[in-house]
Symmetry: D2
Subunit: 344 residues, 4 copies
Amino acid sequence: MRKKKIGIIGATGYTGSELVRILLNHPEVDIAAITSESRKGDQFAEVHPFFRGLIDQQLVSIKDIESMDLDVVFLALPHGVSMDFVKDHADKPYPVIDLSGDFRLDSPETYEAWYNKGHIYQKGFEDAVYGIPELFKEEIKDKKLIANPGCYPTSAILGLAPLVEGGMIESQVIVDSKSGITGAGVKAKAATHFPNVNDNFKAYSVKNHRHTIEIEGTLNKLSSDELKVQFTPHLLPVDRGIVSTIYSKPKTGVNTSKISEVYKDFYKDEPFIRLTDQPPAIKEVRGTNYCDIYCTYDERTDNFITISAIDNLVKGAAGQAVQNMNLLFGWDETAGLRQVPMNP
Amino acid sequence: MRKKKIGIIGATGYTGSELVRILLNHPEVDIAAITSESRKGDQFAEVHPFFRGLIDQQLVSIKDIESMDLDVVFLALPHGVSMDFVKDHADKPYPVIDLSGDFRLDSPETYEAWYNKGHIYQKGFEDAVYGIPELFKEEIKDKKLIANPGCYPTSAILGLAPLVEGGMIESQVIVDSKSGITGAGVKAKAATHFPNVNDNFKAYSVKNHRHTIEIEGTLNKLSSDELKVQFTPHLLPVDRGIVSTIYSKPKTGVNTSKISEVYKDFYKDEPFIRLTDQPPAIKEVRGTNYCDIYCTYDERTDNFITISAIDNLVKGAAGQAVQNMNLLFGWDETAGLRQVPMNP
Amino acid sequence: MRKKKIGIIGATGYTGSELVRILLNHPEVDIAAITSESRKGDQFAEVHPFFRGLIDQQLVSIKDIESMDLDVVFLALPHGVSMDFVKDHADKPYPVIDLSGDFRLDSPETYEAWYNKGHIYQKGFEDAVYGIPELFKEEIKDKKLIANPGCYPTSAILGLAPLVEGGMIESQVIVDSKSGITGAGVKAKAATHFPNVNDNFKAYSVKNHRHTIEIEGTLNKLSSDELKVQFTPHLLPVDRGIVSTIYSKPKTGVNTSKISEVYKDFYKDEPFIRLTDQPPAIKEVRGTNYCDIYCTYDERTDNFITISAIDNLVKGAAGQAVQNMNLLFGWDETAGLRQVPMNP
Amino acid sequence: MRKKKIGIIGATGYTGSELVRILLNHPEVDIAAITSESRKGDQFAEVHPFFRGLIDQQLVSIKDIESMDLDVVFLALPHGVSMDFVKDHADKPYPVIDLSGDFRLDSPETYEAWYNKGHIYQKGFEDAVYGIPELFKEEIKDKKLIANPGCYPTSAILGLAPLVEGGMIESQVIVDSKSGITGAGVKAKAATHFPNVNDNFKAYSVKNHRHTIEIEGTLNKLSSDELKVQFTPHLLPVDRGIVSTIYSKPKTGVNTSKISEVYKDFYKDEPFIRLTDQPPAIKEVRGTNYCDIYCTYDERTDNFITISAIDNLVKGAAGQAVQNMNLLFGWDETAGLRQVPMNP
């Protein structure tokens, strides 16, 4: 059978290069186009030299993809830029998987409140599905616009979903997350300057990180209660990976001893969820699409503690996007995603 | 005036070498003895070669210190070993500053419950003061046994004390802490093997870390309520430093807008507390006795978020021990402790 | 066609887990047995938990493999242990790829001089081929014992081979190598304790590292001169990767301006050699079987400077072993080895 | 006695902040002025927040220092900018210690050849002394312009000086150096972006780094031969520190067995040189003004191997500048420089 023709819009960032890393070994697809407005005409392997010898692909402009008969398009563009593409290409036959935050929230109003910028394409919110396959598998299969989740939200939502959907917890949830530096993007800035990160650690965007509302909004779709999420991100001196340590309180009457059964049952058919009996570590998922989850109940304090670990560039971005593509085309959900963790 | 003669019991670990690092440049003291049963006869600088040229001190046995007319003794011994020394030397004239956990808790019963071992010296609990100078300065000044606080507890207790003593928060507190690897000690083990730590991150001892009860017990001395502490430690791929992110809920009626005033007032005379208007980072306190603290209130969720940063080997161990010594002898509390943070 | 049945002798170290990481996605093989005397009966994924969900393989004893009709065996055993296996299984039909140093040198005498231990199987030296495919491809194809090269030697020999075989350089060569910590093995020791490695750097085994003679001996097989190699290894605070910076002096009359042509010509058919026009970096080869090589001539000093980069666990161990297996069975040399570098 | 009044020109870089870190605890000086054209009016502790509570100093403009009656001025300015200050202030009574490269070389011509820019102040070359105290102590004492050495040159020159001055080695020398990232400066750029450095390693500026000529020129002042230096710098994933591994060949007839005596004798009165019997490590000198040096002779290859370690920001910059100041004023050479290494 003919392989599907893939377009990747945006070549210079980490999500772009991770998409290529994964798709090069995907059995069902060919990379037909990679675009970059700033680097068009250059080889992809000139932008990312570690791809030398692996890919022979010249970067093109977005306008060059019109004639290419693509089957699906991944948007590896910054927030605020994706919406232009989506609006301009809404009538094209191919589905779009958008890795930015532009269509993840409920409405343009919520977007504007948390992203501090206007939104130009209200209809996108109606068309889009929030692409966490473990929660919205059926909706994803026939959509033309998939809003691929944020990295922190993926770790938090997958960690909490069994408790929330089961109506097991009180409304206040604390998500204390720690992320590798690639989450801050490919561009050098003071916050990513090696001597500012190495052997260092700190919180940032306390109270107002925009992923807060993405987590809260998504969880509230699963819940009949109104959850409030206290989300605090921190910067780890590592390249990749997110660990989220999540605190919630059981409602009165909940059978807390069944907690591991609840998780097992909820994720029983999910190939990328691994439930662990020890707190999961970044390197156990590094380079893969796994989300490892640990949940326990503390009798002394009457709290649930859930800890999840993902690779922010894979399950938190490019890998989950490929998983969504696999669903779109009806392929095995794990096609192209059977990497073994890189450890050490 | 004659300098005070110092004894350091236990030379091979990080607290021992940090004590020497600090005390070598302390204006009021001479290091008279450093003991090591396993390395006695060797030079201290053979055990820690980076001290070559800085100190000429042969390691001796504990029994050699009897004849030395010491003015104060620091115990840099493991938990469970300190108690022997304290019991055997209870009638000596010199005060003892114990850096282990042997006398930090309320009672031998609590000790046995959390340390999983028996305690041989009940009287020590009556004699000891918990050596956080910012909270118990007057009690420290005339004690003969100072239980120097644990590293995590120092960061958590200093972060929460103003809220707890002011009776401002509900009884459930979450302390999510992240520590550098030196907290695991000087001895190589799988958990400290470089490829298991580098570019990695995970939680450990969820629900049952023994510092939980040290934090909870100390805070409850400051409080008329009965606090419950949910404490989760994590291992950072850094050498030194602890950041604790602490979540608490204001009681009804508390004036949350005054939060920064409460902290300023509480710590107004404390030379080692720096209140910050941004989340503090490890490298801003590295190598020093500072505890940097940030506190904010989130209106959306009605939570206080407090973040503290210390160097676990200094304010979390050797530096605080020296601060306690300064109080014991009536010296300037900052004597020997005016190091500038090592950044980068 | 039936897949070939693979045995891996030695499960607990890094070379064992890397072999599994690579072979799990190799299209032509099945892992039929993994042995461990110390952990037999356990699941492989209990020893290396990041393999959970990827492999269901119970560890067996070496003596259990007799009945298994294996097609090839990889030895991931320590130096000094491999020789026993090779001797005891010399009459078996399957070829053996030995990742230890036991059969890499010229003779038992040389082995004893540099490894400080006796050798029990002289005949192995006659049977073995030194498994650098880029140099000895034809010899590898019909051998029953392949001595898989050391990590440092792979980087040094591939860097120097074009100059040596061309008779272009004087007899004194300097190889200044820097390696990640996984080269020191999976077992925790003081030298691999995180605080001893992190933010640190130093040389070790100056003048007497046993890889010196492996480099020198192999190069001298390519040369009509008698080369002397000054080899200095250093420990980098990274998990994986070796960079070797190599200094040599052109013989009088050598056309130094043709240096890049010499390398291009020498490696023109080699899929895992990438010649670069900038000094190569570890992360550009991480997780892959590539060896990136840069060579330049300095007119001012009349020196060649060659810099090579490999992943010590892949091209320096498990990947090269798989490459050798591919040659043994006449498969595409890159089968199972098309990983994209993990960067970042 | 009145403390000397110090001016620091340039506040925002690492050398500026290291000067303040050291000088704050120097017994003989007061920091009278710190300048910054871009940040004037701000507090120094706003630019470097880790100094909060330690220094209360408002940044001023260079033109404000005229009225300040300074006793000595440190230039922590970029190359090419220092020369303007030196020229403009040549008639001032205070001596200038320039941490840039502007006056380290022999002549404007050499400067222009290696720095690719013109020089505006030829007379400075006549006035300046190259400020390595271990080699030029007497010349430093009565100079008004001290060219503080570069970081790589300090490590290379101190490592080689005993061999060079003794006329013990052949003319070709190889200096393979590895430096922490702070050597690249405080400004964020792609080369210092955390994911480009962490877990990575590579060489740069092969053949043409400008420190090559500084090393070569200085060594040739000590030598009657004409040395050629092959210098290759590499970037380590650490904050601070340089290790230089240096290869040289004994002249015929040199008594190679006396090598350690030669070093001991050469450095017998130097408080900041520590000769080691093991290859030195970065963390053994971190935060201090020490240069640790190891030298050995390899009989098998007839080479000397010398390895030196320094902290690039201290002995390689600010610390050596303070050492030079101590010589200028006739103080104890170690005043303000008795820090214990920060390890770990």
